[in-house]
Each structure stands twice: as structure tokens, then as C-alpha cells.
Symmetry: C2
Subunit: 766 residues, 2 copies
């Protein structure tokens, strides 16, 4: 599942004026193959979002219309939510269902101890030991490794009522309550998984001051809003070693996600060992696959953390890697070879031959016993049916059976597949495309199309999960994902229908991620999605989300996540030495281009190194967000223009210096050549900004010619280069326009003037 959204996006965007939208200019010509035939299966449904959840997602399958090049201005701060929801003094993420503060605090010292009560087992004890280890690491206190036996003396009592489900499932009770007093913390949970969730909350409550480490006295009652809160990792396009998956499972547990959707097969790689059909992994993976022992290891590791592992075997399309070893199941004779490009490819299983189903029966049977989860994901997306169109036998079969088109043929395939799944005790889940009247009601639809498609399925009685809005590979800011709600307040669904909306999944598609970069593409943004899926619907304060996100992000490092630390490493590798200061300055104010424009601007294959500047740079620039915020503060301080002035000036000087200093560094680092225009742009906009600051500070209106010259420079700087966008340009634009608009300040109120600047700086704001 992946690229069809992009295709649809192209079809839909074509009717809009691209200049209206900050990002649309480059989506006109798309990086990925656009289907030339309108009969492509993927493009028959044109979903319309009927809910209008957020202005920016209305009537588009993907929320792409926001100008993402100016983060500071797109973050629409919601009204402050009740203190109980996201109390500013805590760093909980996701925010619990209910929290009451009390007076007092529980000191954390080296005499800290935990005991269990009622039920206990290895999984719970291991979870407690992990929590203690992290607590010790953070406090640098030597804490006892063993559990305490004396309940009254224990710092934390975990009272668990039972093991919960043997295999993590959709019906697992994940609730817990936690009460912290001066003397003791007490957690009560009906299941071990509930207790594990509570232990994460416990750790997040840790605070410090002069007197040491402590937990504030609180009373928390918590349970998830949705039972299905997932992260898809596509290991097909780029393989990710077991330890990468493990640390991401740890991170998932830390933010209470509970489904690891393991996208195991793609045109570019078949990643799981099959003992029955060994040519699948032997010929389809470049040797990069998971042994069945490793699969069991991951499944056990996930279970230990209360996480389901749902495998996806994407068929009938996306199956090139299957056919390298077994061309006889393809719809064209082959031979096939592992795909190295990005996009939608033609190979598809032949749905008309009995041997295909025999093969699938045996293969699914093997996998069904390897993966204990109740669901097995069959993909089902983006099969354009081109091989089917060209195969006379398939055409004859369709005629004979009265199958009118490829969509119907795939429905036939799915029906056959469904029986195989049922035979092996699995429920079916697939992308939107699998929705069909014959689908049983225990199937689940995973929607990349959006809430409307999800609601349509729900009305028909189908369970669904939302992934539209959670495509983290599109490189959108956390705030944008945070606003996407599987079941927004405006949903027209009845309470009964709404129950079919089970939750959602973030999707880490694997075209441009390596073991070195995948963490930074997933985290910390996915924590915001985790909150959307766990916390009450009215937890929507974006500023507070970001505040907590930056804290949680550092805590994720305790689990081995590399999203923070590999930034510096990749910069060192590019520069070739330790002196990365100037490059870091540049890299901190750019972001990778959004959607699927990276490939268009900077074509690569699956064999390309993912070590360029675009790979080093995180998806979202925190410094740019901060700069946007202080520039807004400065503009709002009209006509005084004192607030943040020094800070802004210092920042601009740093940019100008870095931009100039990068010249000789780039001379010696050929891999950085592509960043030279960005370095020049950085100096240019810094100079423009500094001149604007001078005008503003002096209260002296900048001449029109100056303004026009600067705006031309800014327009040039706003153009992406090296698949990177200088995301501070819009903030500098406000300074330049402000300097030129100084005379208007006399005839309007400061607030009116500020609005004028914002409007002029961003013509799309009405």
C-alpha cells in the first residue's frame, strides 16, 4: 500500500489551481508512475471527506493543502483544554483519560522498590524490571534489581488481577488506575497489559527539582479511546534488522501503541523465511530476511510489551519479489527480478489458476502458525491489473466466469483467499480496495482514503482503522497528524456505527529509510499519533503537544532510538570531520520536501545510500517552529519591536555566518555539493532579515525597491533544493514585509497591522 494515494492525489489536485497551495507546485508532475489507464483498480473510488474535521483536509484524500513550508503559521493552536486533560506541569504522552492532581510528592531515592499484589507473572516482572532500569538510568541511582516482598514498604505497589489475553488481542483490557501519594504509589490493573501501560505513565511522571527526583501526587484513571493503535513498518522496500524493530517496539510501548503491522513483502523484497517455499526468501530478499526464529523472537518481544504483531503479505499486486523464485504464480511468464525502483509495478499473482490457491493455502498455513495474531493482512492495494489485461488465459477465464472487470477479478481472488484465511483460523484485513459485498463482517478495512471511506464501511457494518492522515513517510509535521481523528466530533455515524471505527495506524513506508534513518522518520512524530488514538478526543492543544513531544523524544533515546543522535553522526559523515557546526545550523532550518516530491527532485533506487543531507535532516524543524514563534511575537510587539529582537538578530547573524562558512566546507565534501544553493540562500535570507530588523528597530520604512528585491530573494530561497526546503523563509518574509509596511502602523492598531503582515506574507490566508 502506498503510491496509489499519490496517484489519486494527482488526479484530484489537477482540478485545483496549484498556485493556491503551498506545496502543489511540484506535485503537478509526480515522482511515481501515474496510471495511464483509468481502469486502474486503485483509482475507481474518489473518496470525499464528509466530516470537515479540519479545514486543511476537507475534500481531499490526503491532508496536503496546508502550506507546510511555514510551520509556525500552520499550527492552529486550539483553545486550551481543561487542566485535567493536558496539565502543563506534566509530560504525559498520551494524556490519560482522567487525571486529578493532589498535593504532595513521592520522593524517588535509592530505596525505591516495587512489589506486586494479587496476580504476577514473568511478563509483568520483566516489565517492572525494565521500568526500574530506565528509572535508574535517568536518576543515576542504584536501585534494587529484585522486587520487594513487603507491600507496606514498597514505593510502588502493582496490583494486577490477572494475565489478560494469552495472545495480545483487540479485546485486551488495557485500563489501569494509578494513585500517587506522599508515601506510596498504587497501581491497579485488570490485566498485565494494563499494568504495563500504567508503568509507562509512572515513568513519565518522574520530575526533578533541587530536592531530587519525585513523582507528583496524582490520581489517574486511564484507558484507551481506541483498541487498535498501530505502527506499520515496511521492511519490504528496505530491510530493517531485528534490533531496529525491537527498539521501535520499545518506543511503541512507551507511548502505548499496541499493534505492530509488519509489512513483510513488497515488489522490492520478500522478508520472511518460508520453509515450504524457500525460494521466496532465498531469491526475493538479497539475503535480507527474517528467519522464523527471528519472527518468533519479535512476536515474543512484542507480546512482552502488550503489542500485537500483525503480518502483511501484500497480494495480488506488489508481489514481484514472490515471483522471482516462483514465476509460475505470476500473471505473465517472467522471468522476474527484484524491483529496485519506487512506484507501482505490474507483476501480480494469477488469480485464475488453481495452483496459485494451492500455493497460497500452503504458504498462509505456514505463516498462520508462525504469527499468532487473529488477523492476517492481505494488502490488496494498487493492483492495476495490467498483467491481467494482457494475459489471454486470464481474459478467457473472466469471460467464462462472467467477471466483468479487474476489480471484480480481484474480488474473486479475495473470496478465494478469504476461505484460505478462514481455514487457517485468521480474520482478514486489507486496504480500502478489499471492501466488497461478499466480505465477512469480521474483516477489517484499513483506510488510506480517509474518514469518509471509513464511515462508509462502518455504515455497512465493517470494522475499519484509519491510516489516512497518519502517513508519516509524507514528512508532514506532527501537528498535521495530530489533527487527524478517526472519529471526529462531526462524524455522522451513530454510536453503534462508530464502534466499527477501531482506531488507526501510522505507516512508515520504506522507500527512503535505512536502519540509520528510520527512527528519525518515525519518532517523535508518531507519539502525537499515539496520543490521538489513546487520549480523549478533546485533547487537542497543539502547543502543549509539542511541549510534551520534545520531552518524550529524549526519553525514547533511553530505549536505543537513534532519531536524535544519528543527526550529528550523518552530518559528521558528510563533512568528514567533527566540525559540523555550520552544517548543523543549515540542517536545523530545512526540512525534507513533503509528500512524494523527494523522488522527483532527487531520483534514487532502493540500492542508493540514504546518507545525504536530506536523510540526515529530521522531518520537522523545531528551530524553525521556534523562530516562527518569536518572529510572530516580535511583530505583535509593534510598534515597540523589542520582544525577541536580540534573539532574532543573533539567530540571523548565526545563519549568515553559517551560510558563508559552508562554502569551503562544501568545497571539500562533494556529497554536499547539492546543498550549496541552500547555503547561499541561508546567507541571503539572513541578510534580508537583518536589514529588515534594522528598519524596524529604527522605525524607518523600507523602500519599495528594497522590499521587492528582498522578496525576490526569498522567493528564490523558498524553492526546494536537494529535496530540502528552507522552512524559515516565511518568517523572514514577515520581517521584510513588516519593514516595508511600517507606515501603515500609524493608521491602524498594532493588532490590525499584525494581521495585515500575516496576510501579505501568506497570500493564501484570507
Amino acid at each position: 500500500m502506498k503510491t496509489a494515494k499519490c496517484v489519486q492525489l494527482a488526479l484530484i489536485l489537477a482540478v485545483f489551481d496549484p498556485h493556491q497551495f503551498g506545496v502543489a507546485a511540484t506535485t503537478r508532475s509526480l515522482p511515481l508512475p501515474v496510471p495511464t489507464s483509468a481502469s486502474g483498480l486503485g483509482s475507481t473510488v474518489q473518496a470525499q471527506d464528509q466530516f470537515g474535521v479540519a479545514a486543511t483536509t476537507r475534500s481531499l484524500p490526503l491532508p496536503v493543502l496546508t502550506s507546510v513550508s511555514s510551520l509556525g503559521s500552520t499550527v492552529q493552536t486550539q483553545e486550551a483544554t481543561p487542566a485535567v486533560r493536558a496539565p502543563g506541569q506534566f509530560n504525559l504522552m498520551p494524556v490519560p483519560a482522567s487525571l486529578q492532581t493532589q498535593t504532595g510528592r513521592l520522593a524517588i531515592t535509592s530505596s525505591f522498590s516495587v512489589t506486586t499484589k494479587n496476580y504476577s507473572d514473568d511478563r509483568l516482572r520483566a516489565g517492572i524490571v525494565r521500568m526500574i532500569k530506565r528509572l535508574a538510568g535517568r536518576t543515576v541511582l542504584t536501585l534494587p534489581a529484585d522486587l520487594a516482598s513487603d507491600e507496606s514498604a514498597a514505593t510502588l505497589v502493582v496490583q494486577c488481577d490477572g494475565p489478560g489475553e494469552a495472545i495480545p488481542s483487540l479485546t485486551e483490557n488495557e485500563s489501569y488506575s494509578l494513585e500517587i501519594s506522599d508515601k506510596q504509589a498504587r497501581m491497579i490493573a485488570p490485566t498485565v497489559v494494563g499494568a504495563l501501560r500504567g508503568l509507562e505513565t509512572f515513568l513519565q511522571l518522574l520530575q526533578t527539582d533541587k530536592d531530587g527526583y519525585y513523582l507528583p501526587s496524582v490520581k489517574i484513571q486511564d484507558q484507551p479511546r481506541f483498541p487498535w493503535r498501530g505502527l506499520l513498518i515496511d521492511v519490504g522496500r528496505h530491510y530493517e534488522p531485528v534490533e531496529v524493530l525491537k527498539r521501535n517496539l520499545d518506543a511503541m510501548a512507551a507511548v502505548k501503541l499496541n499493534v505492530f503491522h509488519w509489512h513483510l513483502t513488497e515488489d522490492q523484497g520478500f522478508r520472511v523465511e518460508s520453509k515450504k517455499f524457500p525460494k521466496l526468501h532465498a531469491m526475493g530478499s538479497d539475503g535480507l530476511f527474517y528467519t522464523q526464529d527471528q519472527v518468533r523472537e519479535i512476536v515474543a518481544y512484542a507480546r512482552d510489551r502488550g503489542i500485537r504483531v500483525m503480518p502483511e503479505f501484500d497480494i495480488p499486486g506488489h508481489s514481484t519479489s514472490w515471483l522471482v523464485g516462483y514465476p509460475e504464480f505470476g500473471s505473465a511468464p517472467g522471468p522476474y527480478k527484484i524491483e529496485r525502483g519506487a512506484g507501482i509495478f505490474e507483476p501480480a499473482l494469477d488469480p485464475t489458476r488453481e495452483q496459485t490457491y494451492k500455493f497460497l493455502d500452503a504458504f498462509i498455513g505456514e505463516m498462520a502458525s508462525l504469527f499468532p495474531d487473529a488477523y492476517l493482512h492481505i494488502g490488496g492495494d494498487e493492483n492495476e491489473g495490467k498483467q491481467w489485461d494482457r494475459n489471454p488465459k486470464i481474459q478467457a477465464f473472466m469471460k467464462e466466469k462472467g467477471i466483468k472487470d479487474n476489480h471484480a477479478l480481484q474480488a474473486y481472488f479475495n473470496q478465494r483467499l478469504l476461505k484460505i484465511l478462514q481455514k487457517h483460523g485468521k480474520k482478514m484485513i486489507g486496504w480500502d480496495e478489499i471492501l466488497h459485498p461478499d466480505l465477512p463482517k469480521d474483516a477489517v478495512i484499513q483506510s488510506w482514503r480517509g474518514q469518509a471511506a471509513l464511515a462508509e464501511a462502518a455504515r455497512k457494518g465493517y470494522n475499519g482503522i484509519l491510516s489516512n492522515g497518519y502517513y508519516i513517510d509524507l514528512i508532514f509535521p506532527a501537528a498535521q497528524h495530530y489533527r487527524a481523528d478517526p472519529l471526529p466530533a462531526s462524524s455522522p455515524l451513530t454510536a453503534e456505527e462508530a464502534k466499527h471505527v477501531l482506531g488507526g495506524e501510522a505507516t512508515m513506508w520504506g522507500e527512503w529509510v535505512s536502519p540509520e534513518t528510520i527512527d528519525s522518520r518515525i519518532w517523535p512524530r508518531t507519539a502525537a499519533i499515539a496520543e490521538r488514538l489513546w487520549s480523549p478526543r478533546d485533547v487537542t492543544d497543539v502547543d502543549d503537544m509539542y511541549r510534551r513531544l520534545s520531552v518524550i523524544s529524549l526519553q525514547l533515546e533511553e530505549l536505543g532510538l537513534t532519531h536524535e543522535k544519528n543527526f550529528g553522526m550523518l552530518l559528521r559523515r558528510l563533512v568528514g570531520n567533527e566540525n559540523t557546526g555550520s552544517l548543523r545550523t543549515l540542517a536545523s532550518v530545512v526540512e525534507p520536501v513533503k509528500e512524494y516530491r523527494r523522488y522527483q527532485m532527487r531520483p534514487q533506487t532502493m540500492l542508493s545510500p540514504l546518507t545525504g543531507l536530506v536523510d540526515a535532516v529530521p522531518p520537522e524543524s523545531e528551530p524553525a517552529r521556534r523562530f516562527a514563534s518569536i518572529v510572530d511575537g516580535f511583530i505583535s510587539d509593534a510598534p515597540r519591536f523589542a520582544l525577541y529582537r536580540q534573539d532574532i538578530n543573533d539567530t540571523l547573524v548565526q545563519w549568515r555566518t553559517a551560510g558563508v562558512a559552508l562554502g569551503p566546507i562544501i568545497d571539500r565534501a562533494p556529497a554536499l555539493q547539492e546543498a550549496r544553493p541552500l547555503a547561499n540562500n541561508l546567507s541571503d535570507i539572513a541578510q534580508a532579515g537583518l536589514e529588515a530588523m534594522t528598519y524596524l528597530a529604527a522605525g524607518y520604512a523600507a523602500p519599495t525597491e528594497w522590499r521587492d528585491a528582498q522578496l525576490a530573494k526569498l522567493d528564490e530561497a523558498a524553492k526546494p533544493k536537494a529535496a530540502l526546503e528552507l522552512v524559515v523563509v516565511s518568517s523572514v518574509r514577515k520581517l521584510v514585509i513588516g519593514a516595508a509596511e511600517l507606515p501603515q502602523l500609524k493608521s491602524s492598531s498594532p493588532a490590525e497591522w499584525r494581521q495585515r503582515i500575516m496576510r501579505l506574507a501568506n497570500p493564501t490566508i484570507k
Copy 2:
């Protein structure tokens, strides 16, 4: 093997005036238990180094007499070696045996390709693919994943004559030649392992300039000086996950080390699965052990890189963890529990009971088939025999057999053990203590005692390897390890005797390393040891070593090593947010205390978190080394005092600012409380330095009272705190003394004056 050196050190140091030596003051009371009985087995040999390799190692088993708190001044730059040895324009480490430069260069572009000639196999191809991947990562070029078939078109031709040894061995031919011309690079190697070594050299030759990436035209003929070049990793005291070992094996291969000495058992942990005696790992490891599958995985991974895996099962002492599950083999009735402390412990196997040997026969048999290496390390160190002394049955046995002391009893034990090893096809290796007339000549002595012990063994016809001088857990600077030579020029051994000196091993003892910190304790310093063991003896230019070390250090990051990047991560964790600038400034100019003083100053157990500032800080401060160097340059610029003046002033201002800024940061971070005195010291010495700079710049002699007050401050600052030393104090001392000694400049030459300052600043220099 570990702590006895420390004990011996104490005995020997006791006869010196501790004030003579920068580090001796705190070694008077030792962190680790000092044996109260002089009959302790470990302390009967008082080795004397007869070679006098380096002034600092003379007549001491460990080279600890150098003042390491002033790195800049202890690095004794050797005379420049011939250009062919360590040519300044290359970054090769280890330096090859012979290198001739030629004119021209081989461009590295996206058409880069490799082909093999004569012999090729999976191991060679995998090595080439890994090299290409790293080359691609560094250049950000998409390079072909497959080998080329056309020799004439290939950029690199690898001509290999055969597979070499099936199991990596001491007799492996690791030589290769590499000739790079404008058109092509050609490597010739008799074995695959030789080719793997050459591929690392090939990668290290990569250079850049404005015109892109290239390799200079050179002609290299290379082979190792010693056949045994190892790294011991102690996973007994702290377990290290498989991926930690793998990345360290990659790093070993990068610097041409060829023996992974896997120290698998300790009082604190038994880390390998035994199917025959499952209580060994089940009860002796806290669940932290390697399965036999994982062992095979590591062995195969190492073999792929031409690295031997030699296991160590340390007996009869150091065996507490064995006895937790099997107390019946102990010399006291038990029960035993896993040891949590650091030091030497009493438990030892009972050498008088036949069941002990039955057990060892079965156990060694099991391990012998798991580990294919020809050698099996039996430890044999630091058994003080206290349990033996107290056991009447053992005493009766000794009387009956005429065994006169514990040393003889252990020799008896070793003889029995030797027969078991021979039965299972293994040669014996052990620490110095195993040397005994009955030892067969194919045994190997690993010497922690020093070159004299090694030479003594060699004269008797025993093979030996040096570890004295390579104890990287002592936190000494790379230069110190670099100077230790297993076979110094002054060696009295005949050529025939010298052949018994097989090489050496760096030892990463595991008391104070975790998976997060172990890389920074091993790398990059171990690369300097690797060079000592591979390169010709006359490659000794310390400055050039450091220059290359900093380049190689960053290249090691490509392999997943965390020695650079975990520094920032641990600082973030300590501070609790991203604003680590001031702490980083402090952390960059301190070093962990040397030898085993850490435990004394800051006692911890094996269960303690290794996340304190002392754990974050790398063993060797590069900024301090650089500061020492510019201060020396500045002093040498007398009476002008212009050279580096601005640089020194800026640095001092930065320190002063950071020291002050740390106050409120430490207020909020209880785990940093211990660093508060260091922060204050940093401000103090910075202020002293700035005042001194003012005097010097003005040419105005500082008053005596001022000098005395500053020196008192510096003395205070020189005292370790939080197990950390402020290693820039000695440089600031030079500035202070220089300011006070300005009048002397009139009556002496600048060179004389400089020497005067150096002498006054460091009274131990005559």
C-alpha cells in the same frame, strides 16, 4: 583476569613517593580488595621489565607513572618517521608495512565497480559488498550492488589466490598488495582474509577535494607484524547484547584486529548457554546469556571478517557464577549467589575432587564443539586460594599428594585441565599464572604482567601475547597504549626467541561499561593498539597517530559504533532536555579518573546505572589535548604572546560562561549534583587563565600574591571530583606561572624562558 594487577600495583607503588606521580595520590587506598595474605597466588611474581621500552613503564607492571592529567605534555612526540611509514596526507590506520606514492588519482564515481579474479567465494563477495556499501554511504553515490564481470572495466580488481584457512587461525596469511593507478586499483592477496584486510585499506584511502572523491595513486605491500592482534571483551561483569559484539567485530576488522577474546564467565555472570549443565546459565546469568545459536552467529560473523573467536572460561577462581547452580564443584559448601560487587572473590572450583574433572570434561567438550578456534582460554588468574586454605579435605589432599602450596595445587588443576583440553582438541591459553614447567610448548601465556614476564616465557620456549599496556579499562590516553610494544627494539630476545612473542590484546574489562558506553571505552583508542600490533615497529609518531585516529574514529561510526554519538545522548539524559551546551563544555575538558580509582571515589555495584557524567565523558579529551597544544604554542611565542591568543581567550571565556551557566542546570538535575564542584572549578580556572592572559598581553608581571592565590585555586581544581579530572588545569597553570615569571623573560632567551615555565608548571620534569 583483572584486579590482581591493581593489587600488585599497590604493593609496588607503596615504595614510591606518591607525590612524585600525578596519579599516585589516590592509589594509596585502593578501590579493590587488597589480599591480606601474601600467599595469594596472584602476587608471587614481581615482574621487572628489563627492556626499558619507555621511561614511564620501567620497572612497573603497568605504565601508570605518567601524569595523565596533562595530556598535552605527556605525549612525547617521536622523531618523524619516514614518509613511507605514516605519510601525512593519508589516513591509514594501521599504517601499512610499505607504501609508495605515485602521481595520479583514481576517481570514484557512480560507475565504480569491483570484480574478482582467480578465487572468489561467499566470504569475499560479502566483504566486497560491505565495502561498496560503506563507500556509497560516504560518497552518497548509488553504486552497483553486484560485482562486475569485466575485469578491464572494473575500478577495483581483487585477485585472490585461495580461501585461506577454513577456520581463522594463527597461521592465516593476511598479506595483500594494492596498487592504485589512474585507471584501476588492483589488489592481490593469497587468501580471502588478506583481501579483506586490503579492502579496509582501500576504503581508508578515500579522499575528497573540489573535483570529487578519489583514491591517490599508491603502491602498498602490507602484512602484519604480529599474527595475534586481539580485543578482549568481558561480558561476564556486564552483559553485552549480540549487536554490540557485532558492531565491535566490524570495528576490529576495520583496523585489522584478528582475535575476539570472549571473556564469557566471571563471578558476576555466566554468559553462555550450556545444554549439558543448564543451571550454569539459567542460575548464573540473570537471564543475560548467549544461546548456542547466538554463539554460532557471532563465530560466523567474526569468521566472515577474518577474526578468530577465542572463548575464555576463567577457572578455578572467578567462578562464583558457576557455583550458583552447581555448588557441589566449589571448594566451600555454598550456597553461592551471583556476585554484584567489583574485586577479587573467594569462590574457586575444588581441584581435589574427581567430579570436578568429570564436569569439566563434559563442559569443555560441549564448548570445544561450539567454538572452532584452536585455543581455549582457561583464565587461571587471581585465585587467592582462600577457600582451599579453609577446606580440611583439600588440605588433606595436598598433604597426601605432597602438593606444597596453593600455587602447586593450581598447577595440578591446570595439568588435569590440560588433558581435558587436549582430549577435545584444544590448545591451552591462560594468564601469566599458568606458566609452569609441565605446561606443553603449544600453550600460550597471556601476560598482564609485562614484557619481562613475556620474555621470560619466550626464553623458556613458550608463546606469549602482551596485554600489559593494553588495559583500556584503565582509561589511559591512546598515546600511552601506543608506546607499549610487545617486542621493543631493546628486547634482549634472540630472533628465534622473539618468534614466541605472538602479539597482544587490548582488554575491555567490564566492571563499568554498559551497552551504551562500551564503544566509547574501546574506541577509538583501540585503533592505536591495533596499529602497534600490525604496523612496523618504527611507526611511532604520536601526533600523526592522533591525527589519523580522529579520522578513523568517525569512520567507525559507519559501522554502528556509538562512541561518538552516545556522548550527546547521555548529556541530554542528565540535563533532561536538549540544552546541553554548557554541560558539553565541561564534559569536554574532563576525563574519568585513571586506573581503578573510579570505584574508590564513586562506589557502585554491577546493578548500578552507568549513566552518570563519568560514563558520558570519553576516556580522552581531545579539546584538552588541543588546548595544551595551543597554550604551549602561545608560551613559545614569548615575548610576543600573539600566537593563539584570541583562541585561548575565547576558550577561557567559554569555560567561565559554561561554569556559571551550569549552576541553575545542576539545580534542576539531581543526578548532576556531583558535578557542581567541577563546574565551579571550571569558572575558577577560566578566570585565573583570563587574568593571566591579561598580564601576558600587557607584558605586566603578575604579583606573587596573585600567583599564589591562583595556584591554590588550580590545586583545588586539580583534585578529582565525581570520579572526573579537570585535565586542562596544567595548561592554565602554565599561563599563571608565565604571567608571574614575565620579568625572567628579560634575562633569558624565549626558549629558556619557555623551559622554565614548563619546569615550574610541572615539578616532576627535571
